[in-house]
Amino acid sequence: MKTFKHIYKDAKNKIHGIAAAPGIVIGKVYLFTKEKLEISDGEVTNFEEAKRNLEEALKQSKKELTKVFSIAREKMDETRAAIFEAQMMILDDPILLKAFEERIEREKKQPEYVVFDEITKYQDIMRHSKEPYIKERAHDIDDIKNRIIRNLQKKRWQSKIAADAIVVSDMLTPADTLLLSRSNVKGFVTDHGGLTSHAAIISRSLNIPAVVGTHDITKHVKEDDTIIVDGFHGYVLINPTKEQTEFFTKKFQHLVELQKGLEEFKDKPALTKDGREILLYANVDVSGEIDIVVTSGANGIGLYRTEQILEELSEFPTEEEQVKIYSNLSSRIYPNTLTIRAFDIGGDKFKLLEIYEANPFLGLRGIRLLLENPTLFKTQIRAVLKASNNKNIRFMLPMVSTIMEIKRAKEIIEECKDELKKENHSFDKHFMIGIMVEVPAAAVMTKELSKEVDFLSIGTNDLIQYLMAVDRGNDLVSDLYQEFSPAVIRTIYHIITQAKESKKEISFCGEMAADTLAIPLLVGLGVTSLSMSPSTIPYAKRIIRYLNYAHTKQLAKDCLSCSTEVEVIHLIEKFFKEHSITRTRQII
């Protein structure tokens, strides 16, 4: 049987993007484009009628926004919901409304022109501001401006779309995504946006497959084209061939069956048949994802990637802002744990400084950058400590390669604790500190590093990349990014056994944890906790509940003596067959 790899290798009609929400869907394209509004500045002859039209458009806009606002309050955090509240207030702004009326009467211009011109004046002031957040605001106000104008032109809001369509758009605003999600959209594909774009977050929370950041999908599809969206691998196939359609229809049906079966696992522990419990934690990118975490039946948050806050704010959050975010997450997940990873900046993530590095992945990133910028690091540590009063927060250091880095970080943490004591702030006295093991040097030295920390977490993405000396984003060599290379497996085994010798908790985060093929092997290697994207937790749970720890131990032993990746994969596939475990195939 063909695999995804084969299908995509041969496909000429594929577009690659970022896999933002898992799932597979085949459907018709609904092109959601922001039509450029044609503004008429024609003369108004009947002033009363113009005034009535304006009133009506404002009323309709308010109705629409009230709906958006109520969904927003349900689904998003307060700060973002506040954007919509301000938009609603604009519709009641007495100064603005008076200006509209006066200008229509005085200039005898169409209301749509006056609305456009008057609001644009304010936006221009905002755009000229030195403050980036004010500039951003000008963009938010576009939404309200266009809404009033559209309603003046009596164009109905586009959200009434054919049921079961796949929305393809250049970019989706929060309001668009929320409203579209209410009309049975089957999938989202966008030109722009990353894992933390609104479309991505909302898709994940609603379990709608999504591929974002395709750059130019809107240029390649037409309304009513059939497309296949693969939210597991981040591919879109346009007007698929018969072979592709058959392949994905089968995958889709399989997935539907699987999802039906998954429901029942939600509240059950991930227990092997012989009673070994594997704790399943969620990886969280943005605080808005907390709702899915809570409903996914996760044992807690195993990795909160705080650098995403920078990405969202495009500036460093203040201590207070961070305290608020961390405290909120800590309370929501309580009594389960929240593992906060210190800003992992550098590499491909968030360019902080305009310093040219010939080799950023081997450069100033993770803990290295934090130790070079103690003020930034301390702000985060203080915020994490201040938020730790629920006693369920742990703090994790990224990209550690030497013991000295841990010692230095711990000194800084102690300094922060002393400061907070002097300032009479309370915090968790038994605050746990851990590290990511993702640099080969750290893997080799696990025993020694373990003595310095409370817990360790293996980050497979970087570990494999550094171990195999391969950039997985580079097509020329990405074949060498082998999750199942014996070198990788032996390294993981080494880390686990060494950490266990010092009785330190060892967990696993990174994409490999969510790979159903990897799970039996990882369990057999001795992993007791896995952290993955919340929507993949039920899949992992299902596999674990089919396993027998004793059998997986034997599998791990066999795999450890293999000399090629092919042999390892072969052994695992045989394992699934012999124990009649139906795999999620390579779906995830």
Binding site: A86, I125, V323
Partner: protein
């Protein structure tokens, strides 16, 4: 007419939420209310106007109140600024 000079005290500055609160407070009163900063004079009862003000922490604004209930309005709104918008 009452004129008050206030300082932005909270860390985040005059962002959307306090802007909305200021407008809500101001709209309870009959008097005119203006906020001036860097030569820009904004009607304090207009949310879209207040939203154009980029007032980061530490910056100074001039508030003016004029009308029959100017004293009450000035007391309540100045107090809201002085409390740092009830934010850290």
């Amino acid at each position: 007419m009452i004129e008050k000079i206030v300082k932005i005290k909270n860390k985040a500055g005059l962002h959307t939420r306090p802007a909305a609160t200021i407008v809500k407070l101001a709209s309870k009163y009959k008097c005119e209310f203006f906020i001036a900063k860097d030569g820009l004079n904004i009607n304090g009862k207009s949310i879209i106007g207040v939203m154009t003000l980029a007032a980061e922490t530490g910056s100074e604004l001039i508030l003016t109140f004029e009308g029959e209930d100017e004293q009450l309005a000035s007391d309540e709104i100045t107090d809201f600024f002085n409390r740092g918008f009830d934010e850290p």
